[in-house]
């Protein structure tokens, strides 16, 4: 279970989150929607532990562990995964090499043995096939020269291989055409189940047609201003964010 309580965050003296409170239960898929500048991406970065963000107050607990006291890599090993809106390029590092380094680094942090190469290859191949990621793409440098859709699928592939406890999808739908969106959504849906929970950040209702959430939360001016079921997303689609903008101001 992820619990965020009264979170206040600023970056370079600019207040972004203003007392955000949110709970995501085991196995739950929670969607966060809201207008530009409402603090959605900041929320994802703060959970994952990006520097630059100053937490003024509040706490973030994953299964009772205080994430704010952990380094980003420790949070990753504890099961936090962030699918980036703009995945970074790592020139010269083959995707395969990166995947292995990440998986083994997490295993090491958890005190587990490194994966044997055949086992690793088998896992990668199986997961890549589902996302229609070819072998040649795995040999290329991570994200270098990848199309928008390829980058997003690569994020989902990493998510599948790292088997996180808590996944954040930051605008995974942005820049994807409908076919690419379906592949990505299928990839995510295949990972649903058990205790794994998701925080799906999106502007548009469209993604939620494919990844159907259990709950929808509306963010405005740095906090959750309304929560509801999946029907709330449809209502937002119809009426827009105008009401919430004025409410936040």
């Amino acid at each position: 279970m992820l619990e965020i309580r009264n979170l206040h965050v600023q970056i370079e003296d600019k207040k972004i989150l203003n007392g955000l409170t949110l709970t995501v239960n085991d196995g739950e898929v929670a969607a966060i929607m809201g207008p530009n500048g409402s603090g959605k991406s900041t929320l994802s970065y703060v959970i994952a532990g990006k520097e630059d963000y100053e937490v003024l107050d509040g706490e973030i607990l994953l299964d009772g562990q205080n994430l704010l006291e952990m380094e980003p890599d420790q949070r990753a090993a504890a099961g936090v995964f962030l699918a980036f809106q703009y995945p970074l390029e790592i020139p010269g590092v083959a995707t395969m090499t990166f995947l292995k380094a990440a998986m083994n680094a997490q295993r090491k942090q958890r005190g587990e043995d490194e994966l044997a190469t055949p086992d690793f290859m088998k896992r990668v191949r199986a997961a890549a096939d589902k996302l229609q990621i070819g072998q040649d793409m795995l040999k290329r440098a991570l994200n270098v020269g990848f199309s928008g859709g390829e980058k997003k699928r690569m994020e989902i592939l990493q998510m599948a291989l790292l088997e996180p406890r808590f996944c954040i999808l930051d605008e995974t739908d942005s820049g994807l055409d409908i076919d690419a969106l379906k592949i990505a959504a299928d990839g995510v849906n295949a990972l649903r189940g058990g205790e794994r929970s998701f925080l799906v950040i999106t502007h548009y209702q469209r993604l939620l047609n494919y990844i159907v959430p259990d709950s929808v939360h509306v963010m405005a001016a740095g906090k959750v201003v309304r929560s509801g079921g999946k029907e709330l997303a449809l209502e937002l689609e119809a009426n827009g964010y105008a009401d919430y903008r004025s409410q936040a101001a």
């Binding site: 994952a48 990006k50 890599d73 010269g92 590092v93």
Partner: protein, 489 residues
């Protein structure tokens, strides 16, 4: 976030002075008195049982050296060196030359073991493994042991210490020694000529492909001993040889001077591949006590369609002053230079290459990757020139710098000169920084800050690492990670 602060402190504590190979071995030593004069030159020559012509050559160099001045054009600074405060000769005491590894001082073998060079194992494995590495181990100026000699002999390859070559193959040595780097080439090369104590000699006869990679591990061990190695490699017509040189040095308070000279000669259709992993002691966090590495390396593509390729991974030394170069004399000859230069702490690197196009249709390629961290300064200095007769000369240069942190510096100083209108030179250069976003991305996937840096750096240097022989590449990759420890945060 207090956790971040704690990590930063921790990372700062791991510093360059925790030099991984900082230990020394106690051995009885036969040492020349401190200082340099004609008597010392005579002593070195006598210790080596050298012929008269060699002594004369040394004395001539010494006299010329007295009139020369240290070069000051490199972007490095250091206190004046007291050339009379150095021991110019030291040899481990041995009763007789060892015939096998069993006869080698166990303390020496132990030292190599610590360095991860399982000499003994290599010999045992020799019969079963397909890839064989011959090690001419240079321990404090004297070759202690030479392995695989017999097998090389069968192929007609001569691989021995330069001292032995001077005695056993004087004609070859006289013909080629000093023919690539002349006696008065530069201050340090001239000094080397006067006082060099040992080094390697390789001769590959016509049409022979050397059956194994030849490898020399250099190591400075004796306190205050200047190291003056001399290496000469000759590849006759159609011959091929790949030579590996790796260095590690124990921790010292005094500065240690290292002024080696390496000469390569490639005749018609011959190819020489020379790879170096350099890991001399870089000094403590303040830059105190590191090795001064003032090296002259030059290859002469003397024959038609000959090829010389330099690959270097430079991680050590307080100061590096090194420009492995190619003289492209033979028509259609080719020179290559692949370099990774890593600097951290207070290290100063001024390194690069010279490609001198003399012959028609000569080509050269330069790939240089500089990585600066800490408060280090890293300069690439390269010269590409085409002379009047070098019709159709071509060069491609790619020179990338990567900065880690904001207290270090990267500099690129290319010199280009063409006296032939048909020559084509290309130069690409980039300078980049590891971005915080890249770091965060890697850390979000579970890599620690150090692991993330190592991964990104390895990606940056990949093009050059690929040029190294497999085992060397793995070692080099490890070394780069070790060298950059403490650079994050």
């Amino acid at each position: 976030m207090p956790a971040v602060q704690e990590t930063v402190e921790k990372v700062r504590a791991i510093d360059v002075d925790q030099y991984k190979y900082g230990f020394s071995t106690d051995l009885e030593v036969d040492k020349a008195p401190v200082g340099l004069n004609e008597d010392i030159v005579r002593l070195i020559s006598a210790k080596k049982n050298e012929p008269e012509w060699m002594l004369e050559w040394r004395l001539d160099a010494y006299r010329r050296w007295l009139t020369m001045r240290e070069p000051t054009w490199a972007r490095v600074s250091y206190p004046p060196i007291d050339f009379n405060g150095i021991h110019y000769y030291a040899a481990p005491k041995l009763n007789a030359a060892p015939k096998s590894l069993d006869e080698v001082d166990p303390a020496i073998l132990e030292t190599y073991k610590k360095l991860g060079i399982p000499l003994r194992e290599q010999e045992i494995l020799a019969g079963v493994q397909t890839s064989k590495v011959a090690v001419d181990a240079v321990f404090d100026s004297v070759s202690v042991v030479t392995t695989f000699k017999e097998e090389l002999k069968k192929a007609g390859v001569i691989f021995c210490s330069i001292s032995e070559a001077i005695r056993e193959y004087p004609d070859l040595v006289r013909k080629y020694l000093g023919s690539v780097v002349p006696v008065t080439d530069n201050f340090y090369a001239t000094l080397n000529t006067a006082v060099f104590t040992d080094g390697s000699f390789v001769y590959v006869p016509k049409g022979v492909r050397c059956p194994m990679e030849l490898s020399t591990y250099f190591r400075i061990n004796e306190k205050n001993t200047g190291q003056f190695e001399r290496t000469l490699i000759i590849a006759e017509e159609g011959a091929y040889v790949s030579y590996l040189e790796g260095c590690t040095a124990p921790q010292r308070d005094e500065n240690q001077l290292h002024a080696a000279v390496v000469e390569l000669v490639a005749l018609d259709d011959a190819e020489i591949k020379y790879s170096t992993v350099q890991n001399w002691y870089p000094g403590d966090a303040e830059g105190k006590g590191g090795v001064y590495n003032f090296v002259t390396k030059r290859g002469d593509c003397r024959g038609r369609n000959s090829k010389i390729s330099w690959t270097q991974v430079e991680t050590g030394s307080a100061i590096t002053w090194k420009y492995p170069s190619c003289i492209l004399r033979g028509e259609g000859s080719r020179g290559e230079f692949y370099s990774i230069a890593v600097s951290n702490g207070m290290q100063q690197v001024d390194s690069g290459t010279k490609m001198i196009h003399l012959g028609k249709n000569t080509t050269s390629r330069i790939i240089s990757k500089g990585i600066s961290a800490g408060r280090s300064q890293n300069t690439y200095r390269g010269q590409v020139s085409a002379h009047r007769k070098a019709t159709g000369a071509r060069n491609f240069t790619n020179c990338d710098s990567l900065l880690i942190g904001s207290a270090c510096g990267a500099h690129t100083v290319p010199y280009m000169e063409s006296k032939n209108a048909s020559a084509v030179f290309e130069h690409e250069a980039t300078t980049s920084k590891i971005s915080e976003d890249q770091m965060f991305y890697c850390q979000q996937r579970g890599l620690s800050a150090e692991e993330a840096t190592a991964l990104i750096v390895n990606g940056f240097v990949k093009d050059v690492l690929q040029q190294l022989p497999m085992e060397f590449a793995v070692e080099a990759q490890k070394l780069i990670s070790i060298s950059l420890e403490g650079s994050v945060g």
